[in-house]
């Protein structure tokens, strides 16, 4: 099972000008460029290779923000990782292909500040308060300190 899965992922990855690496048994990582990620996921999803998206995670990688799509099928796990620069955090939404990803993208938008182009609800807040100050860094970035956030939000409440 895993070999067929790995082989087909390998074919799709080479179409997207990258390659699949076997992290450990039953676990595959594909690191792909932002421009190819939508095309790659579209192929994997529409060909029925996997129809199980666990979630999308954000990662702070210093200069960049990593976005990891976690898929699985049976015992096999597939992680598709892409990066966007912190200076222009814009990524392509996969909601057209996987409608269930809508809330996961909103979550990353709230916590990492990545804007997903094509997500119909991307302007709306999901987790953060409506009056979250726009100049505060997104909370899950390493530069964002909980004590500072707390202090700032307290000031905002007092200002009202």
């Amino acid at each position: 099972m895993s070999e067929v899965f790995l082989q087909r992922i390998g074919e799709y990855a080479s179409d997207a000008e990258t390659k699949a690496t076997l992290l450990r048994e039953h676990e595959i990582l594909v690191e792909v460029d932002q421009t190819h990620v939508k095309q790659l996921i579209s192929k994997i999803w529409n060909d029925g290779l996997t129809r199980r998206l666990s979630t999308i995670s954000g990662l702070d990688l210093g200069q960049n923000i990593g976005i990891v799509y976690h898929f699985w099928q049976g015992e096999d796990k597939l992680h598709i990782r892409t990066t966007v620069p912190k200076s222009t955090p814009t990524a392509l939404s996969i909601v057209e292909i996987v409608p269930g990803a809508i809330l996961y993208e909103m979550e990353i938008h709230d916590l990492f500040g990545v804007t997903f182009v094509g997500n119909p609800w991307v302007d709306r807040k999901l987790l953060l308060p409506d009056d979250w100050p726009a100049d505060l860094p997104p909370p899950l970035l390493k530069t964002s300190k909980p004590t500072e956030i707390r202090k700032r939000l307290k000031l905002e409440v007092e200002r009202k």
């Binding site: 809330l103 979550e107 987790l127």
Partner: protein, 410 residues
């Protein structure tokens, strides 16, 4: 007046100027997690639902980055007050994958026993609440009495009713108490009998049938596209159960079968969860009888090697997912956790479309989320600008009266 856009404007809701807009929630933190739904109505029918969660978002993922690996295990256990054990189990498995140590066999069986007891307790809780929201209070009383039996067993094993704190890295912290075997098996038999009895009630009792049959329909294709997990996927016939798809703990060594149904309505969910409950009682009995001897824990160093790993488990509500990234330090670099309700929310919003206000409590309860949101609910009629406020209890009464009137009319 400030020039900032109002919430309705920024949410793109201004186009619904003719219909009714119903803010639903946000909170009364007495019950489970609060959520907030904005319902757009056309007369009695719901045409659009917009969620707003995060009212009790405590920033656990951020907090995990500053705490030692082992401390995080007990912190993540506090994510939920119902399915607490499975969170620490899933986080534990994600971290164990980065180390070279094996979990002892006996510990795997004890993990399975606790996880299944938790499933029984969670499903019983849910069946009781379904009875409550459908106006069938007797069922609620019966089921919650039976739930005490499970909690007593959990307390005897772990010392606590809800937050068991049983897990440790590569093992469990406490062994099974001696001479409990017969007692557990006897209680499991009793519970299976009760579940069978409730199953009969649900199939024949008119109050339940009326409120649940043909309500909350969704197709298998839609559920799959919307990434539904757990019972929400199984009730439309999708084979989605991590216990079977990707076995963890001792699930690959015990015989069991998962339950899937094809009715695809709230009644189907009730039947499915009660059937699953019976399977779980059998699983617990089998695991208790075949509990292997040996150590229950392997001690591991506090520093976890660098790397990334993810794990998923089957919580009572569906797939739960943890992703950990280590840089080889005493604290994690990143922990991501995804709960089943988050995955099931898009499906729930889809199901709500086309339902009436009277069905909202039952349909929302059906996905097994939270009810705290039902308190403090205000209705706004945008045509006449008439506003009124209902509490969760008033909404429940409205639903019951709506169906009572309909019954007398027929």
């Amino acid at each position: 007046m400030s020039s900032e856009p109002t919430r309705e404007e920024s949410a793109g809701l201004m186009k619904y100027s003719v219909e009714n807009l119903v803010p639903f929630g946000p909170i009364h933190p007495a019950l489970k997690e609060p959520e907030y739904f904005k319902l757009v109505l056309e007369g009695e029918r719901i045409v659009q639902v917009i969620p707003r969660i995060g009212y009790v978002h405590r920033g656990l993922e951020k907090a995990a980055e500053t705490r030692p690996w082992v401390q995080n295990m007990y912190m993540f256990e506090r994510t939920c007050g119902i399915c607490s054990f499975v969170h620490s189990l899933c986080y534990g498995q994600a971290v164990e994958g980065l180390t070279m140590y094996e979990v002892p066999k006996r510990a795997k069986y004890i993990r399975l026993i606790i996880a299944e007891l938790e499933r029984i307790h969670s499903h019983l809780l849910w069946v009781g609440l379904m009875g409550h929201w459908a106006g069938f209070e007797t069922l609620f009383m019966w089921v919650w009495r039976d739930r005490e039996l499970v909690l007593d067993i959990v307390e005897a094993i772990s010392g606590n009713r809800v937050h068991k704190s049983m897990n440790a890295f590569c093992g469990v912290r406490r062994d099974m108490p001696e001479n409990m075997e017969d007692k557990i098996i006897e209680k499991m038999k009793y519970l299976a009998g009760r579940a069978q009895y409730y199953r009969g009630i649900i199939d024949t009792e008119e109050t339940m049938l009326e409120r649940t049959e043909n309500i909350g329909r969704v197709s298998a294709d839609t559920a799959e596209k919307l990434c539904a997990v757990g019972p929400m996927a199984r009730y439309v016939g999708i084979q989605h159960d991590i216990r079977l798809n990707d076995p963890y703990a001792a699930y690959d060594e015990v015989p069991f079968s998962i339950v899937t149904r094809n009715d695809g309505d709230v009644l189907g969910l009730l039947r499915l969860r009660l059937d699953e409950l019976i399977v779980s009682t059998e699983l617990v009995s089998y695991a208790v009888k075949h509990l292997p001897d040996g150590p229950i824990r392997v001690k591991i160093p506090p520093i976890i090697p660098a790397g990334e790993h993810s794990a998923h488990c089957e919580a009572p509500r569906g797939e739960i997912f943890y992703y950990v990234k280590s840089t080889g330090g005493r604290t994690p670099d990143r922990v991501k956790s995804r709960q089943p309700t988050m995955a099931n929310l898009p499906t729930a919003l889809e199901i709500l479309k086309g339902q009436t206000i009277a069905d909202v409590p039952v349909v929302l309860t059906a996905i097994d989320p939270c009810f705290g949101c039902m308190d403090r609910m205000s209705f706004i009629d945008t045509e006449t600008n008439h506003k009124w406020i209902w509490s969760g209890e008033q909404l429940r009464q409205y639903g019951i009266n709506y169906y009572r009137k309909r019954r007398t009319k027929n």
